[in-house]
């Protein structure tokens, strides 16, 4: 007989039970179950896949063997960031997101999955405070998806088709935005100054009655912070466009909330808020706006709202303006599409923010800045190296220019690897005009000793 009898995950894989069940439904064999599939569509052989492990333990041994082929950022010293960042994950975050009820919840109603609705309402409430907005969605895929939806929301809100973006933005993110926005939004690059900031004259010249929004990031892809974000928002607004701001939310304990410098739609990634890097699997996007009907109605995502119930003193929840979404009656005529995205990471980000509190967020922001500035100073002191190559204000990421050493970033990173250090992301191919630059990320997880070790290693390998 084909099939794996008595598999522990399949209670009814017992042949005796199967026989009884088949008998009850008037069938004689498992083949009868697929009578509706014509023979020519059937696979008349066993699939060519490895046989199952014969125990849970054997699976564990095998997989642990594969995991041993990886070197983790706990074994090595890591300075990679560029959209996925190594931060401290409080124990509560993993404890809560591995609770079976959350882990295996899905599409239940606010009555029997109240915890899912409430925890996501709370996450939205806390992220709203971080960015200074009123409305935050149940999370989408990642920052790039959130930025793409931000552009589409701006397009629909203004009825215009152009979104201006910085020339120094993450090319992967822009690729994702372009593919997602298809013919509906045209992205136009705005030149950046030597400091990597938006060139306001160029921005001004590209703003027109076709401009739906100006998208910029705080901090930018290369770590640079715009020093006059309000002026950018003002320019956008003067042209009748929206100010669209991407943020790294872990910086917002010390950085001004974007709503306070004119942002109309804020987006970003929740990964730094209590979610492990997971080889890029921890990304989770959000958008935030004011509670303005016209804007709220442009969200494609689910928005959970609080409401009274038939019982006095009881909190209930539900979907705000459900028919905005493709789950409602309008299907493809609704806003974009919605589906399974990254809700568990939203819950986790809520746990993180509740655990950190206002002081924790301020402290983590400060610690990142101190460590990053310390590292930059140490690196800058090495002959031939230039840290913070853009000369901008930065938070946790900055460029290191190796051009003065005659060495490529690739060669430097290879040499660092021998010293069990992951050097910063090589951006020399993405932005050749910046020379041999690497994007270094330093956070609260680095100790002074770690940073000294990095500096010593860099000095040695660039000598």
């Amino acid at each position: 007989m084909r099939g794996f009898a008595n598999h522990p995950y399949i209670p009814n894989s017992d042949p005796r039970i199967q026989g009884e069940m088949l008998h009850e439904i008037g069938m004689t064999s498992l083949d009868d179950l697929h009578r509706d599939i014509p023979d020519e569509l059937k696979l008349h052989r066993e699939m060519d896949l490895p046989e199952a492990f014969d125990s849970e333990y054997a699976l564990q041994r095998h997989v642990e063997g594969l995991l041993k082929k990886n070197r983790t950022c706990k074994e090595y010293l890591n300075f990679l960031g560029a959209g996925c960042w190594q931060h401290y994950v409080p124990a509560l975050c993993d404890d809560i997101n591995s609770r079976g009820e959350f882990l295996t919840g899905y599409g239940g109603e606010p009555y029997n999955e109240l915890g899912r609705f409430q925890s996501l309402f709370e996450y939205a409430s806390m992220v709203a405070e971080l960015v200074g907005m009123d409305v935050v969605n149940v999370p989408t895929m990642d920052w790039a998806q959130a930025a793409a939806t931000t552009a589409r929301m701006a397009q629909r809100y203004t009825g215009r088709r152009e979104v201006l973006v910085p020339e120094l933005m993450d090319p992967d993110k822009l690729n994702i935005m372009r593919n997602y926005c298809a013919d509906d939004v045209h992205f136009i690059k705005v030149r950046c100054t030597g400091q990597g900031l938006l060139d306001k004259a160029d921005l001004q010249s590209k703003l027109s009655e076709n401009t739906a929004g100006v998208y910029f990031e705080m901090p930018g892809y290369l770590g640079q912070l715009e020093t006059e974000p309000q002026a950018i928002s003002d320019l956008a607004h003067a042209a009748g466009a929206l100010s669209l701001v991407g943020v790294d939310p872990i910086t917002l304990g010390v950085l001004e909330a974007p709503a306070n410098y004119g942002a109309d739609i804020v987006c970003g990634d929740l990964q730094p808020l209590g979610i492990h890097m997971n080889y890029g699997g921890g990304q989770s996007g959000f958008m935030a706006t004011r509670d303005e009907e016209k804007m709220v109605m442009e969200f494609p995502s689910r928005l959970f709202g609080i409401a009274p119930t038939s019982q006095k003193g009881e909190y209930g929840f539900g979907d705000v303006a459900y028919d905005r979404t493709s789950f409602g009656h309008l299907r493809e005529k609704a806003k974009e599409y919605v589906g399974t995205q990254s809700a568990l990471w939203g819950i986790t980000a809520g746990v993180y923010l509740a655990t950190m509190g206002p002081r924790g967020m301020e402290e983590v922001g400060q610690a990142m800045m101190q460590n990053a500035q310390y590292a930059a100073a140490k690196i800058d002191a090495i002959p031939g190296l230039k840290a913070n190559a853009l000369g901008s204000v930065f938070m946790k990421e900055f460029l290191v220019d190796f051009s003065g050493t005659g060495k490529t970033v690739e060669a430097v990173n290879r040499a660092l690897l021998d010293k069990q250090i992951f050097g910063g992301k090589d951006i020399s191919k993405e932005f050749p005009q910046l020379g041999q630059c690497a994007l270094y990320c330093v956070t609260e997880i680095h100790t002074g000793e770690d940073l000294d070790r990095l500096a010593a290693a860099l000095a040695e390998v660039t000598r």
Binding site: R2, F4, I10, P11, Q18, E20, M21, I25, M27, L33, E40, L41, E51, L59, K69, N70, R71, T72, L92, F102, L103, T104, Y106, Y111, E113, S125, A128, D134, Q145, I176, R178, Y180, A182, P229, L255, E256, Y279, A307, E314, G318, V320, S326, E336, G339, T340, Q341, A343, G350, V351, L353, A354, G357, P358, R359, G360, A367, Q373, Y374, A377, E444
Partner: protein, 523 residues
Amino acid sequence: MNTMKRIDRSAKVRVGFHEAKWDEPIIYELSKPGERGILAPKAEKQVVQAVGDGVSVLPAALRRREAVNLPEISQNRVLRHYMRLSQETLGADVNIEIGQGTCTMKYSPKINEQLARGLFDLHPLQDPSTVQGIMEIFYQTDKYMQEISGMSRFTFQPGGGSQGLFTMASIVRAYMDSRGETRDEFITTIYSHPSDAAAPALKGYKIIYLQPNPENGLPDFEAFKAACTSRTAGFIQANPEDTGLFNGQIARFVDYAHQMGALCCYDQANGNAVLGVARAKEAGFDMCHFNLHKTFSTPHGCGGPACGATGVREGLEEFLPAPLIDFDGEKYVFNYAFENKEFGVHKVRSYYGVAPVVFKTYCWIRSMGPNGLYQVTKTAVLNNNYLFRKMLEIPGISAYYMDGKNQRVEQCRYTMEKIFQDTGVSTGDVQRRMMDFGMHYWTSHHPYFLPEPITLEPTESPSREDIDEYVNTLRYVFQECYDNPEYVKSAPHRSTTHQVDESVMDDPEKWATTWKVYLRKYK
């Protein structure tokens, strides 16, 4: 003298159930200034001595003026709050998951979850030599998906089923663009997922819906021929659809679409009906996608993180998003060959997709093997047909499209129209009442195409007794519809909350999607 008698546990329905109900405040209401949830890492003395406070470098305009309004709560109280909220969530681990039809709510093995923690501290941009283990897992899982579907190559970038559908629509668009074709229509069916329509629409396509044949519930081939023209770019369909009916004519549809120059996309979000039995390739499809959080158990996470693994046939690989992962004979390497093609999808999600989901898929497939996957499908279909038979024995319950063969594949859409006509109790009322027994119950996507729909899918995970219990509970509730209709209509009574006043949800003056807005609107 012992007066205790054997306790009678013969009741077949859990009439004593009550879901956890903690009357838990909103987290801001727990805040007490001065309390702390954690001591965050601080810069060390030597660092502070060298750079000072760090934040002074910020221009005044960038510096946050006021502390973020976040709750201040000690750690044990934060934990308690979220533990209570988790208990108020009916995950698959704690209930007999039959009610969420189309969602493929199967058991998600704990060993896989534990092992996935081994990925926590991997950065996606690490040198490939330091991530050969996870790259091997991506590579092998791609191979397994190829064998399961007959497709030639998979991407794991899509972060959910809908993004998988969007990726397929993007591939169709890029392919058509590469040939200078300006086709502007996509065909789907009314019983397919809403995203089968919404995703292609985002790529600029007009959606043409096929209506089911009223006799057999399947899309009609003649109607398809009328719809499929030189304007058709793509045809996208789930098979079986939500009805649990398999369209045995599918190869004719695909052939005809190909004759007309269109590409065909197989929505296999739910692949539980056909593992090891039938594949996208034999039906002629150009591409397909699998929801790894459904068929491959990884699990659902309250709605992600997830993966809509998307595969294409030979000849379409160049349209997949970059990078792919190859094996060069010695090591696993990234292949960026298609990243900058003039016509391509280039990228749909950051990095390579949700690695832990791919990882858990790998583990699950390795714990199943070819015979286990086949067993999954056979048992899921057996369970569903057993359920189907039991459901139809309940007075007032029927299924549409009873064509004489009277069987379904892995799920079924039923109707309680007669009970509604008899009692005035609707399928939405029964849905809420089932929660009083700790069970899910799903109606249908919107708009309801059939009156008073019920969509159930047992998967391979429940035992026969579990299925019996689910059916007995439904039978009990349907009897209540006759005996005490008002009680069913006013349900839930033993869930975490009672009926929500939904009128606030569509009123901009009244809705409140965050705590601050709630406080502002309701002083």
